[in-house]
Symmetry: C2
């Protein structure tokens, strides 16, 4: 007896929205498509899921193949499945997202991608398929996440100043934050360990450096803590 489902079936893909923060604004990693449809246009890294691999594996593999990025923590975002979203046929895409520090990754376009580049989120080129919608939802999720998880800490260099932390929050939230309130809030959570070292950058007086306390974070997280800024 065969259980196999006999009806016509669509194809399944993964797409990855990788945000980068390098101290300036928020960036998105795009590839230039080397194959039709939308050949020569910019798109999210991604591709077809192999029948023997998990969705997470497919996302990691496609990201690595098309951009060279490895060991990125990809989180599942949403599955996009409107009929007609792909001109070829019915294609359902499971989207993933991540936030990384671009400087720690070596980029290298390959397989179905002719190029891979970081773009400012505010100045994205025209994107293939429904990828503008996927980027928008990923950005929304990232903003939401920042409201109840201190994800920012994991993205900064090991040592950072409060100004650097504030830049990250402003980049993700897309709004300027009041310096005094931000510092008060952030320090009230007791997640920052002050270091002996100072950061000297330009003519300003040296800034106190901090590191993130991951044990304290785990403890707060277990209590369902909300990191409200």
């Amino acid at each position: 007896m065969s259980y196999t489902y006999q009806y016509p079936r669509g194809a399944l893909t993964v797409d990855c929205v990788v945000f980068g923060f390098d101290g300036g604004g928020l960036k998105v990693l795009l590839i230039k498509r080397g194959i039709a449809p939308f050949k020569g246009e910019w798109a999210l890294p991604g591709g077809f899921v192999k029948v023997e691999e998990s969705l997470d594996e497919a996302a990691r593999r496609e990201l690595q193949e098309e951009t060279g990025l490895e060991r990125v923590f990809l989180e599942q975002l949403y599955t996009f499945g409107e009929p007609g979203r792909d001109p070829r046929e019915r294609v359902v895409s499971v989207a993933y997202f991540a936030l990384v520090r671009p400087e720690v990754y070596q980029m290298r376009a390959a397989t179905d991608a002719d190029d891979a580049q970081w773009f400012d989120l505010d100045e994205l080129p025209r994107l293939a398929f429904d990828h503008p919608e996927i980027v928008e939802m990923a950005h929304q999720r990232l903003r939401g996440k920042l409201r109840y998880e201190p994800i920012g800490f994991e993205l900064l260099a090991e040592k950072f100043s409060l100004s650097q932390l504030q830049y990250l929050y402003e980049a993700v939230l897309g709004v300027p934050l009041d310096k005094r309130n931000f510092r008060k809030k952030v320090q009230s959570y007791d997640l920052l360990i002050p270091l002996e070292e100072k950061h000297r950058d330009g003519p300003h007086r040296p800034a106190q450096l901090f590191k993130f306390d991951p044990d304290k974070y785990q403890e707060l997280k277990g209590k369902g803590f909300l990191f409200e800024i």
Copy 2:
């Protein structure tokens, strides 16, 4: 020129985790499978996505066909795609969830389901496929949601007492809440409109009834408000 992807492809399904709250504990809507695999076992309502329908449409259709439930607001939860999660072949399932008041729905099992019933979340029968994992993730999402959106209000009858509201929060969160603190918090959000009417239930003194203020809720939501209990 044909774009069609030529590799072997899996099948795509939807599954629905519908939680019910009737004033007691949290319940989950299950169907008894009328077809193999797992024939005769309990499972989430769901089934194969047709090639011409959207994922949301497929979820609504399957829920309606298998349980009779219509006009339920289903929200996409997560996509489950481990190879081997279905004994037939590679099947990727897009899971949805919802929270409803069971008493407003007429249930009626049909198509691939032999029966449809509410079960206490704490006393679920053995479930087919990876459905225990899907239920667990849906419950986790629901608890998370309750922390930053006052979803509870939309689930209660139009008029409710503060005790009824507290029962709902306790059922979803799975922990007892301190009555005094709960009332203080809830009332501080200014989302409740007190009614003239009182609720009389047993030997206790009549309880004040409230209704929910949806305009105020929209206003707070726009401000990125966190409904912390």
